[in-house]
């Protein structure tokens, strides 16, 4: 029975979504969605431990061997991303009840959870699959459900944000399809492992270069890397708050996974002489993303939009790690992927609790939130500290490994830029702390009106996880190290 493990995490939400559509009552749909998400999380945990002990798990779907049929090849990188996405997905679905009941109309709650399960299935499908075209199909599933989820936002601008996201997302997906088409034309196969073997033998053909360029542009559109991030602030701000939490913590991580998988497993770019030019491009874009995102976040009147721009900045940090091009750089990027999901999950979920009670997310209405919702604000501040990277929190670990990787390559300017980026993050987190604990004008007595219990538990859990992985960071560090080693193995000799 154990051999069925690699497909279960994707299969559960895949079959769960249509089953959830059959349940007519919204509360039943919510319970069913949480059950499916938790089961999928448990499967990923056991899959993670098996991959950790026994190495790569392969699973031929339909019983046909790899280049002819579709195959799942779960290695440490897949297992890490699957763990993050299903963990955050389960946590958010559990905490979503109150916020969804407030923001989504009565008739649409059942289908809302169906769309959430479909998005979860799509993201897990992308993270697990070993076939290039199958990745495109699951990318479409997650994107289509995300467009619908974003369009359900409270005010009318959500529709325009969803429309822009649809146009940009479809152009990105079609670019990826063009890239896969060129790859198929050169090698005749679609399985990524097979592509990895046959592509270097092709030598430096310009079609392979064009294929890589298209795939990188398509994935960076999904990743919202700096020049292609225009859809992200609108989509994250206008979407219902629970959808923003889910997107911020998972969809950009999966896009980063796809970028890493294509760069190192399929194109093996670490060997080609293009690697040097590519690394400088990634570092440059990453640094610009960090500074542009943080600067805009500082002057943003709306906290939700500020956190969206901070996501753009944090993605910049991950891409810097990728740009350094060594095993340590890739490890730092993967650690930040893991920690960023926890940080942004806690931050946006706490923000969802604020919006639930206060009704809006701009700074003026959040004055004195520290007294009204002490626990939720404390969790927000803790996650904020982790975002800055104060020692003792998970954020520090990822910044530390990033600095180490930059130092190992003697890139002192980059090291300085990374530290400056963290300082900028500190500015906008401190701006929130100031307003949260500042004296609200007028009514002095404020009745405590804490977030609902279900939501509060998950917020505090995510914040404490930030702390836990600050001290006992074996899990992210060693997994990321193993994954980076496997990907760039040859280089480290």
């Amino acid at each position: 029975m154990l051999s069925q493990l690699p497909v279960l995490p994707v299969l559960l939400p895949l079959i769960g979504a249509p089953a959830c559509a059959l349940l007519r009552r919204p509360t039943l749909a919510w319970v069913f969605a949480c059950l499916v998400a938790v089961l999928a999380f448990l499967c990923t945990v056991s899959l993670f431990t098996t991959t950790w002990q026994e190495g790569v798990q392969t699973y031929a779907l339909g019983g046909w061997p790899s280049p002819w049929g579709i195959e799942y090849r779960i290695d440490l990188l897949n297992a890490l991303v699957l763990l993050v996405v299903s963990g955050i997905g389960a946590a958010i679905l559990l905490a979503s009840r109150a916020s969804v009941w407030q923001e989504i109309g009565e008739t649409r709650r059942g289908l809302f959870y169906v769309a959430c399960l479909l998005c979860l299935a799509g993201l897990l499908g992308i993270a697990a699959t070993g076939d290039a075209f199958n990745l495109f199909v699951f990318l479409e599933i997650s994107s289509l459900s995300t467009y619908a989820l974003v369009a359900m936002g409270p005010d009318r601008r959500a529709l325009l944000a969803a429309y822009n996201y649809l146009i940009m997302g479809t152009i990105g997906a079609t670019f990826i399809l063009i890239g896969i088409g060129f790859l198929y034309m050169l090698t005749g196969t679609l399985s990524m492992a097979d592509l990895g073997e046959r592509l270097p033998a092709m030598g430096e053909s310009r079609t392979a270069f064009a294929a890589y360029a298209f795939i990188v542009v398509g994935v960076c559109l999904k990743l919202a890397l700096f020049p292609l991030h225009l859809w992200l602030p609108g989509a994250y701000t206008r979407a219902p708050s629970i959808v923003t939490v889910f997107l911020a913590a998972t969809s950009t991580k999966v896009a980063l996974y796809v970028l890493i998988r294509f760069t190192y497993s399929v194109f093996h770019l670490e060997f080609s002489q293009l690697a040097q030019a590519l690394d400088t491009v990634f570092i440059a874009l990453g640094v610009i993303a960090v500074f542009a995102g943080s600067l805009v976040a500082i002057f943003e009147a709306d906290l939700k939009r500020g956190l969206a721009y901070s996501s753009v900045a944090q993605i910049g940090f991950m891409v810097i790690g990728l740009g350094i091009g060594t095993v340590e750089g890739l490890q730092a990027s993967l650690i930040h992927l893991f920690n960023h999901a926890l940080m942004k999950g806690a931050l946006f979920l706490a923000l969802a609790a604020f919006i639930l009670r206060v009704g809006s997310s701009n700074f003026s209405s959040l004055r004195g939130i520290g007294r009204r919702m002490p626990l939720a604000t404390a969790a927000f501040v803790l996650a904020g500290i982790s975002l800055i990277g104060i020692p003792g929190t998970a954020g520090f670990i990822s910044k530390w490994y990033l600095v180490l990787a930059a130092a190992a390559q003697q890139q002192w300017i980059l090291l300085g830029l990374i530290l400056a980026g963290s300082l900028l993050t500190a500015v906008y987190i401190w701006r929130f702390v100031e307003t949260a604990y500042a004296e609200p004008e007028g009514d002095s007595v404020i009745q405590r009106n804490e977030a609902p219990l279900g939501m509060l538990l998950v917020i505090v859990l995510l914040a404490l996880l930030n702390l836990y992985f600050g001290f006992d960071s074996r899990l992210p560090v060693e997994t990321a190290g193993g994954a980076a080693q496997a990907l760039l193995g040859g280089d480290a000799s």
């Binding site: 075209f133 199909v137 479409e140 289509l144 467009y147 619908a148 369009a151 009318r156 601008r157 529709l159 325009l160 969803a162 429309y163 649809l166 146009i167 479809t170 152009i171 997906a173 079609t174 399809l177 063009i178 088409g181 198929y184 034309m185 679609l190």
Partner: protein, 117 residues
């Protein structure tokens, strides 16, 4: 013969650029979706031209026929066509709701309505 051997791919490039141009340059939301449709159809033509074997019959097994076209791109494009129609349907649903909310489908007018509030 080889003069036309790349003709298919040149047409794919031209169609892709025309579709891409419509999506970016035109302000009307429905026209953007039509441009997106052309952009995706040109990718279908690219895939089918990859799989075509000159003189090869349709991939339906019959006795006496040896040379077939490659069936794999056909399977991929069947999926891609349905993805295209799914995206167009969701896009059009959004356009209908945007029209209900903003009473216009021109991007310039919609953005103008958003600025003041």
């Amino acid at each position: 013969m080889d003069v036309f051997s790349y003709f298919n791919y040149w047409v794919v490039v031209v169609l892709m650029m025309l579709g891409f141009f419509i999506v970016i340059a035109r302000g009307n939301l429905v026209k953007k979706l039509i441009g997106l449709n052309i952009f995706q159809t040109s990718v279908f033509i690219l895939y089918i031209s990859i799989g075509n074997v000159s003189g090869g019959a349709a991939p339906i097994l019959e006795e006496g026929v040896a040379l077939y076209s490659n069936p794999l791109p056909h399977v991929l494009i069947l999926t891609a066509i349905v993805v295209g129609i799914a995206t167009t349907a969701v896009g059009l649903a959004l356009v209908v709701r945007i029209h209900a909310a903003y009473d216009s489908v021109e991007e310039s007018e919609i953005l103008a309505q958003d600025e003041p509030c």
